[in-house]
Amino acid sequence: MLKSWLKPLEGIVPAYYPLYFKKINGHAIYLPGVDRFLLADTFDPWITLEVAEILSSKVPTQVILLGEGIPGLSNLTVLEHTIRDKTGLVIHGANILVARQTPLVRKIQGEGSIVNVGWSDDYASPEKRSILLKLQEYGLFCLRICHALKITESMNNIVPHKKYMEDYFPGMVPQDFTVPIDQTEFPQGLGREIKQILYMADSVTDALTQIEKAWLEYSQAIPRIRETFYKIVGIEMPASLSVLALKHNFTVRAV
C-alpha cells in the first residue's frame, strides 16, 4: 500500500486550500462581534490568518475556510454575509480554550452555510457604518501589505538565518554570534517590524507614514528590496526613499 505522503493530492490537506478547488475568495476573515465577514482572499489562507492576527489588535477575528460546495465571497458584499450555523464554532463566551483575541482557522462546509443577511443593524448609523468600512479598508490594506512582505522576503531574503538558528540549531550557536534576520537594517527584520506597525497603526494613512519613516530610518536596505515592496503594494515609492543612496560599507568576505 502506497504511503499517504506519497499521494500528495489525497487526504485532508487539499481541503484546507480552497484555491485547489478553483474557489475564488475562499478564505475569509469573520468578525464575531459584528457577525459578518470583513474580507475574503484567494491566494494564501495562512496570509489571511496573519492579517486576522494583525487586525486582532482592533477587533476579534476568526479565519473561515469555505468548503467545496460554498461559493466564494465578493469583497463588495462580504459585509452583508455571515455564517448560518455558528454553534459548532463556539467563538463567543468565557471559555479561554475557544474564545480568545487570537484568531484560529475554522473550516465550514455545506451549501447554504454562508448567507446574505444584509448590513448589520448594529452598524447602521453613519458613524458605525463609517468605522466598519474603515476597518474593512484597513483589513484589505493589511492583506496587500502582508502579501507584499511575503513576496518581497521570499524573493530577496537570502539570509533568514535567525529563523534557522532558532528553529533548527537549538543550543548550537555561540553566544553573541551575529545572526542576520534579513539583509535590511530593521532590527527585527523587515516583515516583523512592518507587521508591528500594522498591528498598532490607527489607519491606512498612519501606517503608510510609519512604514515610510521606518524605511528611512533603516535606509541601508538594498534598494531592490524597497522597490519590490512598493511595487507589489501597488503604490509609488515615496520620493524620500527613492533618493536614498548606498553607504558603501560592505564588501565581499573571503572564506
Binding site: 539570509v159 554570534f177 545572526v179 542576520p180 558603501h248 565581499v252
Partner: protein, 416 residues
C-alpha cells in the same frame, strides 16, 4: 604613482562605488580600453592576470612570486587525499615546532570543509587546540551536519561577521583560507554554462544547433575540443548593447590558450584554465586586499594568510587530473568529486556527498556590513583599485591613480 608604476593586482569593478569612474572614462577609450571595462561589467570584477601564456593588461603588471604556476609534471601521481593530508601535516609541524595558532575561515562549503576534515584527520586533539574556526551563520546552515558533529563544542568559534583578517592576525593567528578551491577544480562560470546549455541552444543559429545538440553533456570529454562549443560560449559571455564583446573575449582568451604551455582540451578544461590561470591571482589576494584594513598587505599575502590550495602539489595535482572524474563528472552536484570523497571519508554524510552544490559564500557575505565606519569612505574596501609591487593599496579616488588608469586605458590597444 606615475605611469611606469608596476602593479601586482588591479580591479575593474562595478560595485556601486566605482561605477561612476568607469562609466565616465568609457566613452573616451579606444576598442581595447572599452573591452577591459566591459569585461569588468560581464565578469565583475575584471581581475584577470595571466600566470601562463599571453594576456595583456593596459598597465605594467608583474606576477607576485608566491603565485607563479608550477611547471606541468605529467608524472605527478599523488592523489588529492595524499596532497591534502600532507598539507595538514605542514600545519601539524608548525604547531609542534613553533606553537603557532591557526584560524580556519570556514564557510561550510566543500573547500573549507576539506580543510577542517584534513586537520581533524591528521592532528591530535591536543594539536587541534591550536586551531580555531572563524565562521558565520552562513556556515552553520550550509553544512549543518558538519557543524553539529565536528565543529560546535569541539573548536573555539570566532564570529567571522565581526572579524576580518587583520583582527585574526593581530590576535596572533595565521588565517587559513580555502579561497582558491575553485581554482583547483574549475569554475562556477562553467557550471552556469552547463546548466543553461539548452537555453543557449535556442539562441545559436539553426545550422549550428544539431552539432551542438550532439555534443551536449560532453563537457569533460577530452575528445570534444572546447572550440566545438564556441557558439555556446559566445552566448554565455555576451553582454547587452555590445555585440562584439563575447567574440573579443573568446579571441583574447584563445590567444592565451594558444600561447600557454598547458594543453587545453575539453570544455571543463577551458573553464578550469580560466580560473586556474588568469583568475588565480584574484582568488589568492582578494582577502588580503579587501578583507583587511590594518595589517600590511605584504605581510597578509606572504605570511598572515595561508591559501590552503595554493600549495605547489595541489596545483600539480590540478594540472594532471582533468577529465577523469576528480574535478567534475557532469552536473553541479558532481563538482569537486575528489574533495567530496575526502570529506565523506570522515563524516559519512551521504546527503552532502551526493547533493552539495557550489554556493556563493562570497556573494552572500556582501550583505554583512563591514565595520568600516572609522575608515574614510574613499579608503574603504569598495574604493580600492589594487596594489602596486610595493604592496601599497591603490584607491580609485586618488587623482594619481585615476590619471594612471586613464593614461593606460587610453593607450591600450587590442592585441589579439
Amino acid at each position: 604613482m606615475n605611469k611606469d608604476t608596476e602593479i601586482y593586482f588591479s580591479s575593474i569593478i562595478f560595485n556601486g562605488y566605482q561605477d561612476g569612474f568607469w562609466n565616465t572614462l568609457y566613452p573616451e577609450l579606444t576598442e581595447g580600453g572599452k573591452f577591459m571595462i566591459d569585461l569588468g561589467r560581464r565578469i565583475n570584477p575584471n581581475r584577470f592576470v595571466t600566470r601562463n601564456g599571453e594576456w595583456s593588461l593596459p598597465w605594467p603588471q608583474t606576477l607576485p612570486p608566491e603565485f607563479r604556476m608550477p611547471e606541468l609534471d605529467e608524472n605527478f601521481s599523488k592523489s588529492f587525499e595524499q596532497v591534502t593530508d600532507e598539507r595538514a601535516q605542514e600545519i601539524k609541524h608548525r604547531i609542534n615546532k613553533y606553537d603557532q595558532h591557526f584560524a580556519v575561515m570556514y564557510s561550510g562549503g566543500i573547500d573549507s570543509t576539506v580543510i577542517m576534515a584534513a586537520l581533524i584527520k591528521n592532528l591530535t586533539l591536543k594539536e587541534l587546540e591550536n586551531v580555531v574556526v572563524c565562521a558565520s551563520s552562513h556556515a552553520i546552515v550550509e553544512n549543518p551536519y558538519f557543524w553539529k558533529h565536528f565543529i560546535y563544542g569541539k573548536f573555539k568559534i570566532i564570529d567571522s561577521a565581526k572579524t576580518k583578517y587583520d583582527d585574526l592576525i593581530e590576535k596572533g593567528y595565521f588565517a587559513i583560507t580555502a579561497d582558491e578551491g575553485d581554482c583547483i577544480f574549475g569554475t562556477a562560470l562553467g557550471l552556469t554554462l552547463y546548466t543553461n546549455y539548452d537555453h543557449y541552444l535556442t539562441k545559436v543559429s539553426s545550422d549550428m544547433r544539431p552539432r551542438l545538440e550532439s555534443i551536449k553533456g560532453r563537457f569533460t570529454d577530452p575528445s570534444v575540443h572546447y572550440s566545438a562549443y564556441k557558439d555556446v560560449i559566445l552566448e554565455h559571455f555576451k553582454i547587452a548593447n555590445n555585440p562584439s564583446f563575447a567574440e573579443n573575449f573568446y579571441n583574447k582568451f584563445e590567444k592565451n590558450i594558444q600561447t600557454a604551455s598547458v594543453k587545453i582540451n575539453s570544455l571543463h578544461d577551458y573553464f578550469w584554465w580560466m580560473i586556474f590561470n588568469i583568475k588565480y591571482l584574484n582568488c589568492s589576494v582578494r582577502g588580503a586586499i579587501y578583507y583587511n584594513d590594518r595589517t600590511s598587505v605584504e605581510y597578509a599575502i606572504k605570511l598572515g594568510i595561508i591559501n590552503w590550495f595554493n600549495g605547489q602539489d595541489y596545483q600539480r595535482w590540478s594540472m594532471v587530473n582533468n577529465n577523469n572524474g576528480e574535478k567534475i563528472i557532469k552536473g553541479p552536484a558532481t563538482y569537486k568529486m575528489a574533495a567530496r570523497r575526502y570529506i565523506y571519508d570522515l563524516d559519512k554524510n551521504e546527503w552532502y556527498f551526493h547533493f552539495k552544490i557550489k554556493l556563493e559564500s562570497l556573494g552572500l557575505s556582501i550583505i554583512h556590513d563591514q565595520n568600516v565606519e572609522k575608515i574614510p569612505v574613499n579608503m574603504r574596501p569598495n574604493a580600492r583599485f589594487g596594489i602596486d609591487t610595493d604592496y601599497n593599496l591603490l584607491y580609485i579616488d586618488d587623482p594619481s591613480v585615476q590619471e594612471y588608469i586613464r593614461y593606460h586605458l587610453l593607450n591600450y590597444q587590442k592585441d589579439w
